[in-house]
Symmetry: C2
Subunit: 363 residues, 2 copies
Amino acid sequence: MRVNDVSTPAVVVDLDVVERNLDRMATYCAAHGLGLRPHTKTHKMLEVARMQLERGALGLTVAKVGEAEVMARTGTCQILVAHPILGEEKVRRLASVAADVDVLVALDSLEAAEGLASVAQRTGCTFGVLVEFDSGSHRCGVKAGEECAELGKAISAFKCVQVRGLMTYFGSVWGDDQQRSEEIAGLSANVERAIDAFRRAGLSTAIVSGGSTPAALMSHMIPGITEIRPGTYVFNDLNTFYQGLCTLDDCAVRVMTTVVSTCVPGQVIVDAGSKVFSSDLLSAGPKRGYGRIMEIEGAALLKLNEEHGFVEADDYGAFSVGQTLSVIPNHVCTCMNMHDEVYLSRRGEIIGTWNVAARGKVR
Amino acid sequence: MRVNDVSTPAVVVDLDVVERNLDRMATYCAAHGLGLRPHTKTHKMLEVARMQLERGALGLTVAKVGEAEVMARTGTCQILVAHPILGEEKVRRLASVAADVDVLVALDSLEAAEGLASVAQRTGCTFGVLVEFDSGSHRCGVKAGEECAELGKAISAFKCVQVRGLMTYFGSVWGDDQQRSEEIAGLSANVERAIDAFRRAGLSTAIVSGGSTPAALMSHMIPGITEIRPGTYVFNDLNTFYQGLCTLDDCAVRVMTTVVSTCVPGQVIVDAGSKVFSSDLLSAGPKRGYGRIMEIEGAALLKLNEEHGFVEADDYGAFSVGQTLSVIPNHVCTCMNMHDEVYLSRRGEIIGTWNVAARGKVR
């Protein structure tokens, strides 16, 4: 079956492009002596995680305990939960994962560390902890500096919880050369402050984990970073394209959709809406529309209902009911999260399907 | 277990509120002699569909063949697929459903009808067809008038496909009294045109199906409508609240979330982001934010990352790491679609869980 013949709506993943994207990041990390701990939130698939591990990833990153439970099945020796885990039910499940896999948790509060320690002592496991600090993205994380060391020392007093280093989220580093070099300088200063404080306090800096696809290929310019956690790079999407990080040919995912109605003048309706693409807007570039339609120049997917996509175009004569269109989604992570299964392709031919095994693991 | 004690993030459905919402719509329809064919896209759960059928629903509405396959398990005698189904693989699956259940499909093109007829003749089933017309929402549908009859007559020439009536989508009818009465007048005129044309052509008007929760309780003011297809009314959400259609107490769904970080000044981070709420914005009211936090006056969920919710507030002293918050989502249909399972509650007590059985049935 050719890609254009799949039953729609469907996500098709081009494995040649995936392999190229994985190889590129693995090569970059190897060249700069950086560890690669890919964030699996983008693909949520065991098969892709295994491809990452085969290419030298030192472990996997997840956001949820349920994702850790799934990703433990890859046989990886180490999983980082890059999100504070609060709540005993979740920590108990994480302790079960820790029976087989080295589990690290990033956190920025004593409360989160206490919760881990309490369960760890009762179950006899050990959790590794990375203290999360804010390097400039202003999401989670203690202030870069003495606060890191204070939290690290306080956590060190707990049993069954081991401070193994630091973690930060880089966020979006892009723009023109000057903007990027200013952002890198700001990140570097904060990373240095956090590391210095940890070292002065005698805390481990064995792991200093940086993150995000937008900043990934600039990570070697930030002194002290030992590893990175990019996610989106595996597939890329319209956001990474408009951020100048990839070409359209580097985008591995196409949403296949069918024209289902051409009745209302000035628009065409396709069978994929927000329950197929997600409602995420573009974070870069034109900041309008929900994806790039590849077949028809000037056509734009400007509005989504749950099950209807509204296409506007220069020439509506180019569309007919039943026609298949392929679309690069704005944000591939949230798009993948809508699908229990995806098709796989090579050179335009469908060669199989994979389950999105960690989809829907909201906790 | 109390609602506040669930492991987060989680969706909790208050069954007392659901029953009240279902009763209200059933009573309205009975009082006005209207059929009720609820759209299951909101809840996607077999148990809720059965509650709707027990209260007199004459059948169920779905958007996807995969949803029809799931909802056939309720034992309903009739399912309407309110979306044009293009593509042989999907039509073949729908023919299997039609072996056990009376299947109606809404469509607005001869191509869609041809696809149904072709498979129906080969498999020996019959599909009912409703011709979709545009009553003013400008999504799908032929023009209200002669075009309805032309398409209906052309479809009547096919074997194994039976034209059973008309369908239209009302969309959002709300605003002040004058705006509503103008919209109702416009809808009524279009419905009348479509029915007249069908009758003159000798086509069946046994079913004239109208839709949408916002317009539901005004359906009796639109002459000729035989049934309605509201979806959201089962749960309600922040959109229906701001549309003036319900109180906050009529909102049956709460997203339970935990405060996980208070480090960065001027914000609080919770463990629910766009992969829990969806990214859908408000369609009415203040049109900012991603849900209403019920515990803390003046707190607003202003930004979502995939796994992080950003809360802004007047008083950050009201928040602490580990605290549970409950949130009414903007759009409950897309929120439910993120979850494989929901908790059920009555009077603040968790009494069970249900699977979201039709979640992720994208085709």
